[in-house]
């Protein structure tokens, strides 16, 4: 693990072999399992991070790499695991978090798309599924959840980047995550999805302008998270309901998670705001992940206090 370079981007094969290595060498804190298979048959791996316990612990879900071209996402998920394990011995906050919570980390949600963006088309964002009626491939996995189906901010045309799929959960990747979260929804108290490009921390709703019932708690958690993030390098993140902070959309995984009873559902839009676009240089992996780590720890610590 010490040999692994967390400050460069990695191919899917490298990330998966890193996961196996983590599972093998850090077995006191790490467990690895597959929740299903992608459209192209690749396993959908999840790491469970946390101290083993006899009783069922509450949990936090983090997924990265929903959109293939946002490479900083998988880099952050790996960073999170590395930091959690390395700081467990000396950082009391991390120790408390890992002792009392489990973190389910899915470093690459859209495995087929991520592989495709590495090998063929750097700016691919969708999955790689194919509808037999059309020649275009892929679905925007974050618009494939059963929220407000395929309305504003989504497309029902398979050639579009925001194509929402033939029906909700038509993508095996989305179906697998939804099934896992439904199964564990009593224990999963926070859902976090990592994206890029806007420097924002968003929470439901994204499909309507109404305020969520537990707005005050979620707003406070978001405020604490962006404050913690700012404390690292002075980078400001906007935060708020996705509909008013970013734009109203057909709904995404955060809306789905919230509707399914997960009270804290967030989408991070990591660096940057358009200077590098989707081509965030490797030299910025470290600061981006360092500050985001603080934000995620703030959310999880707030959860524990609750």
């Amino acid at each position: 693990e010490s040999q692994y370079d967390y400050e460069v981007y990695h191919s899917l094969e490298e990330i998966q072999s890193w996961m196996f290595e983590m599972n093998k060498t850090q077995s006191h804190l790490v467990d690895m399992f597959s929740i299903g298979k992608s459209y192209e048959g690749r396993p959908l791996y999840v790491l469970q991070i946390g101290k083993r316990s006899r009783h069922q612990k509450k949990a936090v879900w983090i997924d990265c790499g929903v959109h293939a071209r946002e490479w900083i996402g998988p880099a952050f998920c790996q960073w999170f695991v590395k930091e959690a394990i390395n700081s467990y011995q000396y950082d009391s906050v991390t120790r408390r978090l890992l002792n009392q919570l489990n973190f389910y980390i899915m470093p690459v949600f859209n495995v087929d798309g991520y592989h495709f963006s590495w090998t063929t088309d750097r700016f691919w964002r969708k999955t790689r599924s194919k509808n037999h009626k059309f020649h275009c491939r892929g679905v925007d996995a974050n618009r494939n959840w059963k929220v407000k189906w395929c309305e504003e901010g989504a497309s029902s045309h398979p050639c579009d980047d925001t194509y929402c799929g033939p029906f909700p959960e038509s993508e095996p990747e989305v179906k697998a995550v939804a099934k896992f979260l439904r199964k564990h929804k009593k224990r999963v108290k926070a859902y976090i999805s990592i994206h890029a490009y806007a420097q924002m921390l968003l929470y439901p709703y994204s499909y309507k302008y109404a305020t969520i019932p537990n707005f005050n708690c979620v707003e406070l958690a978001a405020h604490n998270a962006v404050t913690a993030l700012y404390s690292a390098y002075g980078v400001r993140y906007r935060y708020g309901p996705a509909s008013t902070t970013l734009y109203v959309s057909s709904g995404s995984s955060i809306d789905w998670a919230y509707r399914n009873g997960i009270p804290y559902a967030f989408a991070f839009e990591l660096r940057d705001t358009g200077y590098f676009g989707f081509l965030l240089p490797e030299s910025l992996i470290n600061p981006t992940c360092t500050e985001t780590m603080r934000a995620v720890k703030a959310i999880a610590s707030g959860l524990l206090k609750k």
């Binding site: 370079d5 400050e7 460069v8 981007y9 750097r122 700016f123 925007d140 504003e152 901010g153 989504a154 497309s155 579009d160 980047d161 925001t162 490009y197 806007a198 734009y247 959309s249 358009g274 200077y275 590098f276 676009g277 989707f278 081509l279 965030l280 240089p281 490797e282 030299s283 992996i285």
Partner: protein, 94 residues
């Protein structure tokens, strides 16, 4: 992606929004933000990746319509290659 460009456009009123939607609707472009042309609105930044063969046309259209814009990536292929340059520079340093 050699020669492809990313334009940064900020429509300042509803008329410019409509013109921009119309221009982009007739080209095969990759919107970086917002995710879809229907979400373009006034005073909000639009970043759009345009194929090499279409860049001159877009420059001309935007100038003709007096829409404020800039090019924030002038050669996408060069930027792609720069993104993963950290590994080799770190090796050189060590």
């Amino acid at each position: 992606y050699a020669g492809d460009q990313v334009f940064r456009i900020t429509p300042s009123d509803d008329e410019e929004v409509q013109v921009l939607k119309n221009i982009l609707g007739h080209m095969k472009v990759d919107l970086w933000q917002p995710n879809t042309a229907s979400l373009i609105c006034k005073n909000a930044t639009v970043d759009v990746h345009v194929k090499r063969n279409d860049t001159q046309g877009l420059h001309a259209h935007l100038k003709q319509q007096h829409i404020d814009y800039g090019v924030f990536i002038s050669n996408l292929q060069k930027e792609i290659e720069k993104q993963t340059g950290y590994r080799s520079s770190r090796k050189r340093r060590s």
